[in-house]
């Protein structure tokens, strides 16, 4: 006979527990921060960090799908963010006169997400033919290529319409015309329409997408392909399709995050999205625990805020950040501490 469970029991059973914890964490964080914001108790420094933090959260959740769940090391997540950021900025700039801010933001994020998903699909075709470290270096290469291409892209519009040029811009703008992307100078004069609420909604959207994918048939196929490629193939899982699914969803989330990020600053240069940013997001994911979404949420917030919290230490802050990174890795991989920890866990269960 099936045991009847209370709602709390359903929410906390194995399948739902991590989702429940995720949504609770996001909701509590949002409510607390909104109250602090509305009552003016949040310093301007932290207020400025809220939207970028949600962007990194979305990109990191996406990357965890790729690196943790699908098991493919991706060093080019920032490249996808760049695609989303600059397409989002273009959409917002074009529709500035005709559409109010909130629908424009939604539209920009959707366009950024879809375009990035398409770019991710195109890049995924060659990338997913490779494996292991070779796959990693190719994603790094693609990230750098995307960044360099955007640095040479010129987009402008005036009364005669949209103009796009590559490498050299030789368009003569009509009076009232405006550059949307100005090559290496990036996007300038963007209206800042991103806000914390939109960022939180995007985080929740990313969580819904990733959790629904992980706990679906396709999600199990993705994990099977990660754990044993050959065994998964032999039971009829289409490896290329499952890997591509994780890759494209991951890219799309990075694109959405990028669009929000781009619309949070009045100027945005493409060189912001170099491999260092990709590595930064990867660090969030690995320290949070591969495949563990809650871990990603916590580690992204902590590691994103850490350099700011260490601001009092001024010049030493990045040095301390580096030391913390190394020490965490050494401690979590220490044989002695590991056996102690698992013994402790067993004791607790017994």
């Amino acid at each position: 006979m099936k045991e009847k469970k209370s709602i709390f029991g359903i929410l906390m059973d194995n399948r739902h527990r991590s989702r429940t914890i995720s949504y609770t964490m996001v909701a509590v964080a949002y409510i607390v921060l909104e109250i602090l914001l509305k009552t003016g108790n949040l310093s301007s420094l932290f207020t400025g960090l809220l939207v970028p933090a949600t962007c990194y959260l979305v990109a990191a959740i996406g990357l965890n799908l790729n690196v943790g769940v699908s098991g493919e090391l991706n060093l080019g997540q920032a490249g996808f963010m760049a695609v989303g950021a600059f397409s989002g900025v273009c959409v917002s700039g074009l529709l500035k006169a005709s559409v109010p801010a909130i629908p424009r933001l939604i539209l920009a994020i959707i366009v950024g997400m879809l375009l990035t998903a398409f770019v991710g699909f195109l890049i995924g075709i060659p990338v997913l033919k490779l494996q292991g470290d070779y796959l990693a270096i190719v994603t790094l290469a693609f990230g750098q290529i995307v960044m360099n291409l955007i640095m040479n892209l010129y987009v402008a519009f005036d009364s005669t319409g949209l103009k796009v040029a590559f490498v050299e811009n030789n368009f003569e703008l009509q009076p009232g015309g405006k550059y949307l992307i100005n090559g290496p100078m990036g996007a300038t004069g963007t209206e800042r329409i991103a806000n914390f609420t939109a960022g939180t909604i995007l985080v929740v959207f990313a969580l819904i997408v990733v959790y629904n994918l992980i706990y679906s048939r396709n999600g199990r196929a993705i994990m099977a392909a990660r754990d044993n490629r050959i065994a998964a193939e032999s039971i009829g899982i289409n490896i290329a399709k499952t890997k591509m699914m994780a890759f494209v969803v991951s890219a799309a989330l990075a694109g959405a995050a990028g669009a929000l990020y781009g619309l949070n600053y009045s100027t945005m240069v493409a060189s912001k999205f170099d491999y260092n940013t990709s590595i930064l997001i990867l660090v969030y994911v690995v320290l949070g625990g591969l495949g563990n979404i809650n871990g990603t949420l916590i580690s992204t917030v902590v590691l994103f805020l850490l350099p700011q919290l260490l601001r009092g230490l001024q010049d030493y802050r990045m040095l301390i950040y580096a030391v913390i990174l190394i020490v965490i890795m050494l401690v979590t991989n220490n044989e002695f501490l590991r056996t102690k920890a698992s013994a402790f866990r067993r004791k607790k269960k017994a």
Partner: protein, 291 residues
């Protein structure tokens, strides 16, 4: 003629990449890890050489030796403190640690020597060798010659000495190498020592060609050399030479004939095309997965 002189310049840049790539490829071959901090060891080497030459007025050769010794010690210390405890850990943990070490070195350099760029003194006469309308600077010639000497010495070391064959044994099968009485930890330390020493030589050549020293000096050449190592087949020493030279030539030629801004796009684009045709690089071994 213009093509030839560009080609030779490409060989010069490629030689620097090749020497750096050797460090990546040797460490990967033996420790199976991507040493992201390698580029920053180059940066440290550049600073040591800079201070030896300008502040302490050491002659050129001892100055380079000082850089080599410092980098070798640094490489071994990094390996001992940061990588050795992670021998059994997942490769991603080691990768993150390497990134941490890279941040650490960059920020230490920034604290110790400030972020403002320093001008590296010109150490090799600026003259050029002329024949038949083609002019090649001595600097380029010395760079290429250094690379060749390093390659020959390293190949002899790996193939003819006892330590070299122990290194080859470790790269093939660590367990079997241990059973044969090889001290694997010592071999890994030696590999890091050699790789970091080579990084110091590369740093001097790099700064002789591009004379600004900054705390982030090593990251872009590091990434390029890493690309070169993968290009040639990571783990293969002739592959690193071939990959480095090709990368340098492609970079200079695309700068000269296509576009300065797009040279990185072309370099990384060629890498992707090569890996699609040969998934383990030009000279990499194909490992069949057995069911």
């Amino acid at each position: 003629m213009r093509f030839l002189s560009n080609f030779v310049n490409g060989l010069g840049l490629g030689s620097v990449y090749a020497i750096i790539a050797l460090g990546y490829t040797m460490v990967y071959g033996i420790a199976k890890m991507l040493n992201f901090a390698h580029g920053d060891v180059i940066m440290v080497g550049a600073y040591v050489a800079f201070f030896a030459l300008t502040r302490f007025h050491v002659p050129l050769i001892p100055g380079i030796l000082a850089a080599v010794i410092c980098c070798t010690v640094l490489g071994v210390v990094i390996e001992r403190l940061a990588y050795k405890p992670l021998r059994q850990a997942s490769s991603l943990s080691v990768l993150i640690t390497a990134i941490g070490v890279s941040y650490f070195l960059q920020n230490s350099a920034q604290l110790l020597w400030s972020a403002s760029p320093k001008m590296f003194p010109s150490i090799i006469s600026t003259g050029a060798l002329e024949f038949g309308g083609l002019s090649i600077s001595y600097l380029t010639l010395i760079t290429i010659a250094t690379c060749l000497v390093v390659m020959v010495c390293l190949t002899l070391f790996i193939n003819k000495t006892k330590t070299g064959s122990a290194m080859r044994a470790c790269s093939e099968d660590k367990g079997a190498a241990t059973l044969m009485g090889i001290n694997v930890n010592k071999i890994i330390s030696i590999t890091f020592a050699i790789g970091s020493g080579l990084a110091a030589i590369a740093s001097v050549l790099l700064c002789a060609n591009y004379p600004t020293v900054t705390p982030t000096l090593g990251s872009m050449p590091g990434i390029k050399a890493f690309t070169a190592a993968v290009f040639g087949g990571i783990g293969s020493i002739p592959g690193a030479l071939l990959g480095g030279l090709l990368l340098g030539i492609i970079e200079i030629l695309s700068k000269a004939y296509i576009s300065t801004n797009l040279s990185d796009v072309i370099v990384f684009g060629v890498l992707i095309v090569i890996l699609l045709v040969k998934p383990t690089g030009l000279l990499g071994k194909n490992i069949r997965e057995k069911v």
